[in-house]
């Protein structure tokens, strides 16, 4: 403990030295920009700046690249809240309640809460990273395909809590998403499935075009189709800050989101995306007013936003402690470290303490920089909403197309986005929710891969899921969730969904 603190003091002396501070600042600014632009994610930002760091010393380079990573998580909420366009997959959940808050004139509050939640989550999880990295990393490696499958199955059960309306419709949409997720090369045999000779479809349907199409484009189309144009929201300065009540309602979701995000972020794979989904579901389950979710619940913003930020620190655990990439972004960071002659792994902390502790300390500093950077920007961003729709919407459309094209440099992706925009519009008219489709598209390839890898490991024996302690525990939790949701059937009491339906019909609650 004392040793850790003295190490941290060394770290701060590195992190607060003017050049390192400057690079952390540059990283944070670039990260925020990258997060704000739809389609352009942190992976793109880091890869872009990687060659520019070749001439720098290792500590500065890593500090800057890490700044981009967590900076993007701060910025990612902005377009989700203001325009219902997810900056990247991790901010899909923020689109739902964040945008609903913006429609109610609470855009400023939503942005501020997202920023503060991200700050708390970022800072707390750095502390956790500092103390828990080595033991947790060893645990994370035990997550093989069977454990991952069990976790994803839990993620699927979350679907039941996703929608405000009919569960049947939500499940239908999820099934559609899962089917869309089946497109692409079969990872286990190399067969092309449903690709019809289009090589780009070999890699499957990307999450970004689907999410931007279903959320962003569909929103624009739906608004344009209204008989009377929507009122322009003119935020007043006073309304920029969250109210006392909003703060109170955010406190616990931020705490829970932080823990959840950190824990899920450690798991190798693209687990950080799931963290925001799980956080959203948990908040809805625990909320006293679950019917508010989807209509501008503060907890629906603060929970997932904290979770995705905490997950970024979580993802650094296996990377720093074991030298194992826990996802595409840590993989680039790892590459960056290797290019700078730093070999990450168990020996990193011992061999290069200034780098390790400087990195940790710079994350404290970076999170503070981001908060200071983002809170004043809230006022600026919110003013975007003052732009008249005939100018705002075509510009958003343009940014969506450019952003989606930029992800893989693929025109096919742009077509997918446009098709999804049309589909999303249609589904909105028919009162289907589109979020489960996105979740389905995200989960399907991961779920299939994990299932089939597990079976390849066990030579086709399904017992592998029950024979391993972590996966068995996760499956048991899933079973309990299912049983809990069956409870109302047995006890004949009404759950919130039924109550909501009755309230909407104007019937009195029993």
């Amino acid at each position: 403990m004392v040793e850790t603190l003295s190490n941290l003091a060394v770290g701060f002396s590195v992190a607060l030295s003017p050049p390192v501070l400057l690079y952390a600042f540059v990283g944070c600014v670039v990260g925020t920009l990258v997060g704000v632009l739809p389609g352009v994610g942190p992976l793109a930002g880091i890869s872009l700046l990687l060659p520019a760091t070749f001439g720098l010393d290792a500590t500065r380079a890593i500090v800057m690249l890490a700044g981009i990573y967590y900076g993007a998580m701060y910025g990612g909420s902005t377009t989700s809240i203001l325009m219902r366009i997810p900056g990247e997959a991790a901010s899909v959940m923020t689109c739902i309640d964040g945008y609903a808050m913006a429609r109610k004139g609470r855009a400023g509050a939503a942005l501020a809460i997202a920023a503060v939640g991200s700050y708390v989550a970022g800072t707390v999880s750095v502390i956790a990273l500092m103390f828990l990295a080595p033991p947790l990393a060893a645990f994370a490696l035990r997550f093989g395909p069977p454990e991952y499958f069990a976790l994803l199955l839990l993620g699927l059960l979350v679907l039941a809590y996703m929608s405000a309306g009919s569960m049947l419709k939500a499940l239908a949409m999820a099934a559609l998403g899962l089917l869309l997720g089946m497109i692409g090369i079969d990872q286990m045999t190399g067969y092309f499935r449903f690709a019809y000779g289009v090589v780009e479809l070999g890699d499957g349907i990307g999450v970004v075009p689907v999410a931007v199409g279903l959320f962003g484009l569909a929103e624009i189309l739906a608004t344009a189709g209204q008989p009377t144009p929507p009122e322009i929201i003119k935020p007043r300065l006073r309304e920029l800050l969250p109210s006392r009540r909003e703060w109170r309602e955010s406190a616990s979701p931020i705490g829970r989101g932080t823990v959840l995000g950190f824990v899920i972020g450690i798991i190798p794979g693209s687990a950080h995306i799931i963290s925001s989904f799980v956080s959203y579901a948990v908040e809805r389950r625990l909320s006293r007013r679950p019917e508010e979710f989807g209509k501008g619940a503060v907890a629906g913003v603060s929970g997932p936003e904290s979770a995705n930020n905490a997950a970024t620190s979580g993802a650094f655990v296996p990377m720093l402690a074991l030298g194992v990439p826990s996802g595409p972004i840590p993989a680039v960071m790892l590459a960056a470290m290797m290019v700078h002659g730093v070999s990450p792994g168990p020996l990193l902390i011992k061999n290069q303490p200034e780098l390790f502790w400087g990195f940790i300390a710079s994350m404290y500093v970076g999170n503070l920089v981001l908060l200071v950077l983002n809170l004043p920007l809230v006022g600026l961003f919110v003013n975007l909403l003052r732009v008249p729709y005939p100018i705002l919407y075509p510009s958003i459309l343009m940014f969506c197309i450019l952003g989606v094209y930029a992800v893989n440099g693929s025109v096919v992706d742009v077509w997918i986005m446009l098709a999804m925009g049309g589909l999303g519009y249609l589904l909105r008219k028919l009162e289907f929710e589109t979020a489960p489709i996105v979740l389905g598209v995200i989960l399907a390839p991961m779920l299939e891969m994990a299932l089939r890898q597990s079976l390849a490991m066990s030579d086709g024996q399904y017992g592998i899921f029950l024979g391993r302690p972590i996966s068995a525990t996760l499956l048991a939790v899933g079973l309990v969730l299912v049983l809990l949701s069956l409870k109302p059937l047995i006890t004949k009491s009404l759950d919130w969904r039924a109550r909501l339906a009755m309230a909407e019909k104007g019937e009195n609650l029993p």
């Binding site: 352009v40 992976l43 793109a44 930002g45 880091i46 890869s47 872009l48 990687l50 060659p51 070749f54 490696l141 035990r142 997550f143 093989g144 395909p145 692409g184 990872q187 286990m188 045999t189 190399g190 067969y191 092309f192 000779g197 090589v199 780009e200 070999g202 890699d203 190798p268 794979g269 296996p318 030298g323 194992v324 990439p325 826990s326 595409p328 993989a331 680039v332 590459a335 290797m338 290019v339 700078h340 002659g341 070999s343 990450p344 792994g345 168990p346 020996l347 450019l402 094209y405 930029a406 992800v407 893989n408 440099g409 693929s410 891969m449 890898q453 390849a456 490991m457 030579d459 086709g460």
Partner: protein, 326 residues
Amino acid sequence: MTTIRFAVLVTIVLLAVIPGAAQEPYPSRPITVVAPFPPGGVADLTARPVAAAMEKTLKHPVGVVNKTGAAGAVGMQFVATSKPDGYTLLLALSSISIIPEADKLFGRPPAFTVDQFAPIALISADPTILVVPADKPWKTARDFIEDAKKRPGQISFSSSGVYGTLHMAMELLSHAAGVKLRHVPYAGAGPALTAILGGHVDALASGPAVVLPHIKSGKLRPLAGWGDKRVAALPEVPTFRELGYPDAEFYIWAGLFAPKGTPEPVLAKLRDALRGAVADPDFKAAMDKLETPIAFKQGAEFQMFFETDAKRLAEGVRKVGKIETK
């Protein structure tokens, strides 16, 4: 990266409206090197220092674009069908010769063929090495092969994907040694390494650079290498050739290609730029840190290496055949 792509896009649009842009001397605008694999992999890690070093000679920005998908086929097809003007290049790995062969196997129209490319130069060639978790009983490659013979289909290995480089290396060994191993494919070399470190599989064929830190820390044990010589960083590890399996020879190599039809003066300029790049101290330092030996080959020499390798791999793919699902 995407911003580079965006910049390229803007440049293309701008060039389209500037008349006479086509007659400019080469190079007069940014060059794109397509790495058909995700950031952090061998292709990406080689492409970035190469691009940075080429910039110095060509005096124009050289950007790396990760155009991933379909085990590299998307990026390779993209370059194969790009305008042969020297502004779109491909940094390919051994898999460039595997993919068309696998397409043939499945009877589908190939995404591209090898002869759609003009080879510029070989940059690095690294033999794969066989590693197992240190807590496994096998101390030598012989132990491993003996045990695999006793328990066919019981010893598992992870790979970068079906017909991927790491899969092919292992299959060449299986055929050479007459053993049957259980294949658990992962989506990329990174996850495949995570799998063996987590103890979820028993073996992995990998480039030496990425497993070296884990060998040093005592987590993984190297058994043998696929090269014709021992790996410099691991002088005590024998090759399969020494052990009597000369057919188990495999390299993860990285080379630069242009689309076929690129004018000869442009190719000559690129060859010069590359010769300069591999001699660049920064580039040497970068490759050194990655523990990847530079193996520079140009012209007929590269052509021959490329053809021998392609033949060996094509035969490998045919031996593996279609993967039967249970």
